[in-house]
Subunit: 122 residues, 4 copies
């Protein structure tokens, strides 16, 4: 089935600069979870907007039909890595409808904190 | 009264693999809270979308008229349990309007963390 | 200015049964924040939907024009208190547009956890 | 590209009154992240609605074209600072479409907690 939208935005973006606990589970990270419930592969172009420099992208992501992709912003490499500690926002443009949710795990102190929100779509 | 939608999605899904503190209160878990404020029982079909295998479902849930159901993904059994540590997304299809909210309690470290979001609906 | 909707729902509801740290700041609680940015007082009827008993309500709330009200579900008394540990959902019906956001502070373990989401509106 | 809306509201507002850990990273704070993905600078007027006094504002914010701004409510000064411990709501009115997300870091106890939600838009 088709569910979702083709344009999504996450206004908050920040990769904590340090971590407490075993990697990779407890490594501080920021993630976007993308659901493609449809019958066609999704091709997603991701652009990162920064506070003090021009946007970087697109990063190219693919989500197979009827699959869920959890990407960590920490692991994006092409065209360039996101610097921990930078503040940014992200925009996703997909060729088929998807659903995107934002999550962060922050383990800078002794016990981890987590946050989430369904992203903004239109 | 009728409030809500019939189609809902949660893109983020992950059951933490361990816990700290007394069960069941402090057991790490992922939950969906379903409000059926209407006058008819809701029959909800839940499908789980994985990263690296085909979707599993439907799981059949029922929410009585004028009731609130809090289901823990950890406790789903039929057609199969969700493996802790797996990354997934979920889609709910109801025969009457409902409202769905996503919650997680993560107690892997000494103090629990929690997150929530109203799910995506259309 | 008028901003918001007249019907709001929060599907997740749960008041943690114990707390760590000084009251009232660190007392575990569940809250609804209601913004009335308009020029008229808002009269809000709140109904609580339970898992295993009929709904209770309405609770009557008032939010003055151009004011923000943060109510703690723990402190609702009329027609009855909500039992800590119960699972519930809530529906708010206002006579003028408002914006409602759900928040919880959970201090059952040594460090508090917090969650939030804009509620569902229609 | 243009993405977003011109009117946004965050119903929950509260700056925790103390912090644990090194400043400024671990200082308890409340933030609004504003994405301006468009080609024109955004001029945003922010009004703070309180529980027990008239609204204060507008605060004037600017977000350059194709940039992301993370503002801490703690640091707003003109027309006046927000008192830690006060409960408030906020409304943002922009002259071009933007996307706004609400975040808080609460480090009052030994390990920080975090929360987020996409704000309400119309």
């Amino acid at each position: 089935m088709n569910i979702g939208k083709k344009i999504w935005a996450i206004a908050e973006g920040y990769i904590p600069e340090w971590s407490t606990g075993p990697a990779p589970d407890m490594t501080s990270h920021e993630a976007a979870c993308i659901l493609n419930a449809g019958d066609e592969k999704a091709h997603v172009r991701l652009t990162i907007y920064y506070t003090d420099k021009p946007p970087v992208g697109p990063y190219h992501l693919e989500v197979d039909a009827k699959r869920s992709l959890h990407i960590r912003f920490n692991e994006l490499k092409d065209p360039e890595q996101i610097a921990p500690g930078a503040t940014y926002s992200s925009v996703f443009i997909s060729d088929v409808p998807v659903v995107i949710q934002h999550t962060r795990l922050d383990s800078r102190q002794a016990a981890n904190a987590v946050l989430t929100t369904i992203a903004y779509s239109e």
